[in-house]
């Protein structure tokens, strides 16, 4: 009986002091949005004014990606230029989890650009670099800084120190002059590669960023050239009867998918650039055009009106073997064309038409969920940034052809600057120069 009492007492004692496991709370929802970030204007040691406001370029880059919302300059409480100058308690009030500070000083004929990225809540440095830069390269250095910051905060590579190729048309006295240009991804520093009185179309970058394939009408018909950007030499690679167009460089740089109508009507072919061998991909009386590669180089998406109106299809192209039967990918809307697969292979961006309205849409290839990204009316030629986060495309604003960009979630949209004429047919170049950490 005594033992019973003891047991009961012990039990009672135990019940009144339970073992404390960590409480678990599930958080769902939240708001979709860009993460605030404080980017403080960089300090400058030198005498003359700098040609580039580095912090401004970084802020614009990060904003364009759609992932970040740089705080307005007016909200910045102070202007630290390096770690010890930052009072983290003050900055915590603003609610931005990260802060970028930097300073530039003259060094030789150029500059030394230093930047640091801090975690505001923990008060610790996340990353920081000192980059030597020439005066002309200062803008590019700013883009490289954007890439470094973007990569460490998202785990994905940035696409800010990249370039885009595009076509412009300038009309003077009812005469058109067409140019193929290459500019920074934010539209700055445009450099013409080719001028022609005849139309130019469909530029496509080689994966090493050294060459461009494009369509030229200079001999009164469509022909495909490959143009070396360094030597400025070009080769005519397709000039068959009928249409030669829609060149698309394969991810391994060995092949060019293209459209030829020499066999009766426009069909997709794959050209081996080295040995000039041609592999036919489609064979139907319908229009088959606009081939685009999947990142593994094993499949092509293309536009076909075999179902009546243009839709996007997919076909496998094994190295040796029979090409698979094309499989339709798009089912929404009455017109889907110019399909481009994202660098991670998960999404398909396209020109999506309903009635007279043509917009850029993106389709998730796993669940076929389609999202419309733009709200203009005459959009065309979408192209992915190499990190898959932003899309450049051509559109019409006030009767003028312009280039625009939209982030993959459709949240951030920007128009690119342009001096004169119409801009169209943008193609986003690959990442080439990277600062190795």
């Amino acid at each position: 009986m005594l033992r019973k009492m003891m047991l009961l007492l012990l039990l009672g004692f135990a019940l009144s002091h339970p073992v404390r496991a960590a409480l678990t709370i599930e958080i769902t929802g939240g708001t979709a949005g860009a993460q605030p970030i404080a980017i403080v204007p960089f300090g400058w040691d030198g005498q003359d004014a700098l040609s580039t406001d580095v912090a401004e370029v970084v802020a614009a880059d990060l904003h364009r990606s759609g992932a970040f919302a740089p705080l307005p300059k007016a909200d910045l409480l102070s202007q630290p230029h390096e770690g010890p100058q930052i009072n983290f308690a003050d900055w915590r009030v603003l609610g931005a989890p990260n802060i970028v500070v930097g300073k530039i000083r003259p060094s030789g004929n150029g500059y030394m650009v230093q930047f640091q990225l801090f975690d505001v809540f923990k008060g610790t440095q996340i990353t920081g670099y000192s980059i030597a830069s020439t005066a002309q390269d200062l803008r590019r250095t700013a883009h490289q800084i954007s890439d470094l910051i973007y990569e460490v905060l998202t785990g994905k590579p940035g696409a800010f120190a990249t370039r885009i190729a595009y076509v412009t048309e300038v009309v003077t006295n009812r005469k058109s002059r067409y140019s193929l240009n290459v500019a920074d991804a934010d539209g700055y520093n445009p450099i013409p590669i080719l001028h022609s009185p005849a139309p130019l179309m469909s530029p496509s970058w080689s994966p090493d960023g050294k060459r461009l394939a494009y369509v030229s009408f200079e001999r009164r018909r469509s022909e495909i050239y490959i143009h070396d950007l360094a030597t400025r030499k070009r080769d005519l690679v397709a000039s068959s009867q009928g249409i030669n167009s829609a060149p698309a460089w394969s991810p391994d740089g060995q092949r060019l998918a293209l459209v030829l109508s020499k066999d009766g009507n426009p069909e997709i072919y794959v050209l081996n650039i080295k040995n000039n061998s041609l592999q036919r991909i489609t064979n139907s009386p319908s229009i088959d055009t606009e081939p685009g590669w999947t990142p593994d180089g094993a499949r092509l998406v293309f536009t076909s009106d075999r179902g009546g109106k243009p839709q996007i299809y997919q076909v496998s192209i094994p190295a040796n073997g029979v090409v698979s039967k094309p499989q339709r990918l798009t089912f929404e809307g009455d017109y889907n064309a110019h399909g481009v697969v994202s660098p991670d292979g998960r999404s398909l961006v396209m020109v999506h038409g309903q009635g007279n309205r043509f917009r850029i849409a993106v389709q998730d290839l796993s669940d076929n969920d389609l999202r419309i990204l733009t709200d203009t009316r005459l959009d065309e030629s979408p192209s992915f940034a190499p990190n898959g986060a932003i899309i450049v495309y051509a559109t019409e604003v006030n009767n003028r052809g312009v280039l625009a960009m939209v982030s993959l979630d459709g949240a951030v949209r920007q128009r690119l600057t342009q001096t004169e004429g119409d801009a169209r047919e943008p193609a986003w170049g690959p990442r080439i120069h990277r600062i190795k950490p």
Binding site: F217, S240, I243, S245, T303, A337
Partner: protein, 188 residues
Amino acid sequence: MKSYLKLLMVLVPVAILAGCSSPKVAQKPAPIEDRTASAATPSTASTPATSGVEVLAAPDKGNFAGEELVDPLKDATGLLAKKTIYFEYDSSEIREEGRAIVEAHAANLIKNPKLTVTLEGHADERGSREYNLALGENRAKAVQQLMQLKGVPAKQMDVVSFGEERPVDMGHDDTAWAKNRRVELIFK
């Protein structure tokens, strides 16, 4: 001829700026050429360099000086003066009025075996450029097929497409679009 002068005017800048003396590439393997399969086509008769391009649609060429008093192609009262066939949106079907024009030209071509025509196909700006390039060709080929049906020998015809690249009307409405959906008959 005027065209040759215009030719020169644009030849020079392109040559300079493109940085290559001629677009020919002797050392590389020959590009995909399929010209030998078909008969000699009129467009290859032009020089390799860029020809002076006329943006305006109404061609006013006539190489028949001395052969006829009145060039039927220039006779404004005749059907042969019409050299453009129009199409419906996203269609390459030749409609009634178009048929009549094509048939008239077909007859004329048969009568003049030395006469050659380039059928230039075009599309309006809606949709993607590459698809429109193919659509333009479809339209030009439709005209070619009808002509062949009427007895015109293949060697007298050539087909080329400019897609939406050479509109006659730069507007962005139905009127402009209707004017741009066309096949033009270009005679040399």
